[in-house]
């Protein structure tokens, strides 16, 4: 029992983080139909910002170099991480949202991700280059006297509270006229614009909010793991969050949490304990093939995911993401 508890607690913490990330991406992809192929870059921004705000100045003679090092108390780094990530998301959106098709945004986000990776790796003064930052302390751990290896004892409650808040915000958007307009943009941006909706401003808002949520997830990641380095920029990291959204149910906040449990909790955390066969990279490679294939199959056979998006019924307020599910074909697919 005592050996299994940390394993499950770690997996549970990752599921909480990925549930938060999935809700943020769901706002962009599931609700508004924005394809952001560098979602994890905003997680990285949040992680780095929270990291350097939590850490003190780099110790002399350690060879580490990073900016700030302000030693700020919890929860300031998390809040600032969200703000900075949201700001960068908004800047990226401003350049591409004017009247371009979804392809162009997807391409630009992909490019931005590669450039961000190059900057973080090459500018060693920023976030310690390829080695990344490490030794980030767990917030409040010293207050409660929790040893570092048990950081989940502090972070699981914090993570659950943040997940609840993020879910509540997304849920309120879901029920509001704002959420309805976002869905209208997804189904046809020109149609939404012709009803007098300022689609540019609304999409900009969603980019900022979704990326800010990514930043919160990144901040939690760095405070849990204690370290962060540029390998997080790999395409697969973004794809895993997409997998959670698509398998769970795009447009449904409870669905994507379920997707996070499946993809992060079962497939990824589970595969860590598989025996190594052949080369070290073989098991992760096969795991990624499985995730990629599952996403493509679900997109074809069940585009609504495990728990589909719900549609409000006349006179019945939509609650908790449970209700009449959207009819097939309403996400733009023809019936054949």
């Amino acid at each position: 029992m005592s050996t299994l508890l940390p394993i499950f607690a770690t997996a549970f913490m990752y599921v909480i983080i990925y549930a938060i990330l999935s809700i943020g991406l769901n706002l962009q992809y599931g609700v508004t139909g924005i394809v952001n192929f560098t979602y994890y870059t905003f997680v990285a921004i949040g992680a780095y910002v929270a990291g350097v705000l939590t850490l003190g100045k780099p110790p002399a003679g350690s060879g580490e170099t990073y900016i700030l090092g302000l030693n700020l108390p919890f929860p300031v780094p998390i809040v600032l991480a969200a703000l900075v990530a949201g700001l960068f998301g908004g800047l990226l959106a401003l350049t591409v949202f004017r009247r371009l098709r979804s392809d162009y945004l997807a391409i630009t986000t992909l490019c931005a991700g590669t450039v961000a990776f190059d900057i973080v790796t090459n500018s060693t003064g920023l976030f310690n280059g390829p080695n990344g930052i490490y030794g980030v302390p767990t917030p409040l751990a010293s207050t409660f006297g929790v040893p570092p290896q048990n950081s989940y004892m502090v972070l699981i409650p914090i993570g659950l509270v943040i997940l609840g808040l993020v879910w509540w915000v997304a849920h309120c958007i879901d029920l509001s006229p704002y959420g309805r307009t976002l869905r209208a943009i997804r189904e046809g941006r020109d149609a939404a614009a012709s009803f007098g909706k300022n689609t540019l401003r609304l999409q900009l808002g969603v980019m900022i909010l979704g990326c800010a949520i990514a930043g919160i997830g990144g901040a939690l990641t760095v405070e849990f793991v204690g370290a962060f380095n540029p390998s997080a920029f790999e395409t697969v990291e973004t794809f895993v969050v997409y997998a959670a959204v698509i398998l769970g149910g795009p447009g449904n906040n409870l669905g994507v949490i379920l997707g996070a449990v499946l993809v992060q909790g079962v497939i990824i955390q589970g595969s860590l304990y598989l025996p190594t066969i052949g080369a070290e990279s073989l098991v992760p490679a096969i795991r990624n093939m499985v995730i990629g294939a599952m996403v493509i199959l679900v997109l074809y056979f069940r585009p609504r995911g495990m728990v589909g998006e719900t549609r409000p019924q006349l006179g019945v307020p939509r609650r908790w993401g449970i209700g009449r599910t959207l009819a097939p074909g309403s996400r733009g697919e023809a019936d054949s």
Partner: protein, 290 residues
């Protein structure tokens, strides 16, 4: 000054590699009307196939390249037909098509990792002395890349202007519905386009791997954003625009490399943003693609 001329020479090499890749990507983008995010991994797969043919099957490099190009044309057309075809036939939204190519990218990359591992490899080509052309200094390999790229561009030009399938490709790319009512069935055109894309991706990938003197499974993915920059600069679906875009991006990256060598490819992102802000339709505009 000499440094600058030399940078222009390297720029021509980069532009040649980029032109092969960008023309392959833009042809498919134009004909199918969605971006392919697995393109970088198709390039990488072509490289590893060529490499496997030279090392495991002990083929001569040139023969291995030809075999790989033909094989990749078939593989790409088959994968596109098998994976993308069902989504296109049910008229899935662009967002879904983009996700499928993104998933395909992950799968292809994982296949490469599973078969060949994560380490770097290199083609064993005879070491050669660089040749002088006035102030320019280029190796025979670099000259071969430039020459091969020019030959491929002329071939693409002849294909698009002199052959039936090329003319049908242009028609479908310009206006799919108009092409259809004119009696052109898009299905064989799309298949041919994917085959050409696979062939060009392999040529581009091998050129890139030879020029960089080593390659790893991330080769194509790391280069993809530069290709997209050239494609969008030229105008989506415009092969001549892609050639022009490749030339501009290739020269700009190598000139920037004089001052900021570690960020030379990133300047492509600056080019991309400028194009999107100032001329989103690209240098050579095409209707319905912005």
């Amino acid at each position: 000054m000499n440094e600058f001329i030399q940078a222009m020479g390297f720029g021509l090499v980069t532009a040649s590699v980029l032109a092969l890749a960008a023309v392959g990507l833009t042809l498919q983008f134009g004909v199918t009307n969605y971006a392919n995010f697995a393109y970088g991994d198709i390039m990488t797969l072509g490289v590893y196939l060529t490499w496997a043919l030279t090392t495991a099957a002990h083929l001569n490099f040139a023969i291995a390249l030809v075999v790989a190009v033909v094989a990749m044309a078939g593989i790409t057309a088959a994968v596109a037909e098998g994976v993308m075809g069902p989504f296109v036939r049910r008229r899935s939204p662009t967002v879904v098509l983009l996700m499928v190519t993104f998933g395909l990218s992950l799968i292809l990359n994982s296949v490469i990792l599973a078969i060949w591992g994560a380490n770097s490899d290199a083609f064993q080509l005879p070491g050669t002395q660089p040749l002088h052309f006035g102030p320019l200094l280029l190796t025979p390999i670099q000259l071969t890349i430039i020459g091969g790229s020019i030959v491929a561009m002329v071939a693409i030009h002849l294909l698009l202007t002199r052959t039936g399938i090329g003319k049908r490709m242009r028609a479908v790319s310009d206006n799919r519905d108009l092409a259809r009512v004119s009696g052109i069935s898009p299905t064989p055109v799309v298949r041919a386009t994917w085959a050409i894309t696979g062939a060009l991706a392999t040529l581009a990938g091998v050129s890139l791997a030879v020029e960089a003197s080593q390659f790893s499974p991330g080769l194509g993915e790391g280069f993809l954003f530069v290709i997209f920059a050239a494609v969008i600069l030229g105008g989506v679906g415009r092969p001549y625009g892609a050639m022009l875009g490749a030339l501009v991006v290739g020269l700009v990256t190598e000139v920037v490399a004089l001052w900021l060598p570690q960020y030379k490819l990133d300047v492509a992102f600056v080019v991309l943003i400028l194009v999107l802000l100032l001329r989103p339709q690209g240098l050579i505009a095409s209707a319905g693609k912005v």
